[in-house]
């Protein structure tokens, strides 16, 4: 098992939609160790982290990067657009309401890992009409 991470910027503001996801490949079950996010536009925003209700199809996913360059390439990837959109999680592991201030954010850690099943997605979900710009990063053990 090795540690991988990636950070992307999302401009998806739509309430009731995913701003970003991390998706496992069909042959791995990564452990999500950390998720961080912060706002790039001064809009009060509410986010949740939860498992997608369906199996979305990512558009132009970006693979996580190895934190040790000697480790093999990551199998998991993140995306901010989908051809088959994610559906709402039935339950959120974490929720946060952020004030309308650029730079506010949160870092969630999962010391034992939040396990993602093969081909499944973990979502950063818009629980309101959110900031026009949000940075988020994902750290995974796969």
């Amino acid at each position: 098992m090795a540690i991988y991470s990636l950070s992307l910027n999302s401009t998806v503001t739509t309430t009731g939609a995913a701003a970003m996801d991390m998706k496992a490949s069909s042959s791995n079950q990564p452990r999500i160790m950390e998720v961080g996010l912060n706002l790039g536009a001064a809009t009060a925003s509410t986010y949740g982290i939860g498992r997608s209700g369906n199996t979305p199809t990512q558009t132009s996913p970006v693979a996580l990067q190895a934190e040790n360059p000697n480790d093999p390439a990551a199998q998991s990837g993140c995306a901010v657009a989908w051809s088959v959109a994610p559906t709402v999680p039935t339950q959120f592991f974490r929720r946060i309401a952020l004030p309308a201030t650029i730079g506010t954010g949160i870092i969630w850690t999962f010391p034992r890992g939040l396990i993602l099943a093969a081909s499944a997605s973990m979502l950063l979900w818009n629980l309101a009409t959110n900031s026009a710009s949000v940075n988020a990063w994902w750290v995974a053990d796969e």
Binding site: S7, E67, P69, T101
Partner: protein
């Protein structure tokens, strides 16, 4: 293996250009380094967007600032911080971490890597300034802790 730490301060009149590299942390030529912590804090009230990424090529540092040992008696560090290079670094497009910093002196972030972010010999991790519609830092403090 021993722990080393260091920091640099950069001040520029006005703002940095976007899509540029502001600083790097480079491993020495003969040893790999594990980065355990990187901190970035604003020294002036300019809102900014910053990212942490691996350099796309070896960077030739000018005036490197070598890290200091946490314990007296440990050998000198070969890992160094720098904010100028003989060849301008290429802006990396894939980032390990990104954050926005609001326009207030003292705001910042500390990223930690419990298992270590590994740098191969002569490789760098850079503080990059993405073009995200934000003004860039006029002054900043950057710190690092490594095990080499």
């Amino acid at each position: 293996m021993a722990l080393y730490g260091g920091s640099i301060f950069q001040a520029r009149g006005g703002t940095f250009n976007t899509s540029t590299v502001a600083a790097d942390l480079k491993a020495g030529p003969y040893n790999a380094t594990s980065v355990f912590e990187i901190g970035v804090f604003c020294g002036s009230g300019i809102q900014s967007s910053v990212a942490l990424a691996r350099a796309t090529a070896e960077l030739l540092q000018l005036y490197p600032s070598y890290l200091a040992a946490y314990e007296n008696g440990d050998t000198y560090s070969s890992t160094a911080l720098a904010q100028a290079w003989s060849v301008t670094p290429v802006f990396p497009t894939s980032h390990l971490r990104r954050t926005f910093l609001t326009g207030a002196q003292g705001v910042g972030i500390i990223w930690s890597f419990p298992r270590g972010l590994k740098l191969s010999p002569s490789n760098s991790v850079v503080l990059a300034l993405p073009s995200s519609g934000q003004n860039q830092i006029g002054q900043y403090h950057m710190s690092a802790e490594v095990d080499e």
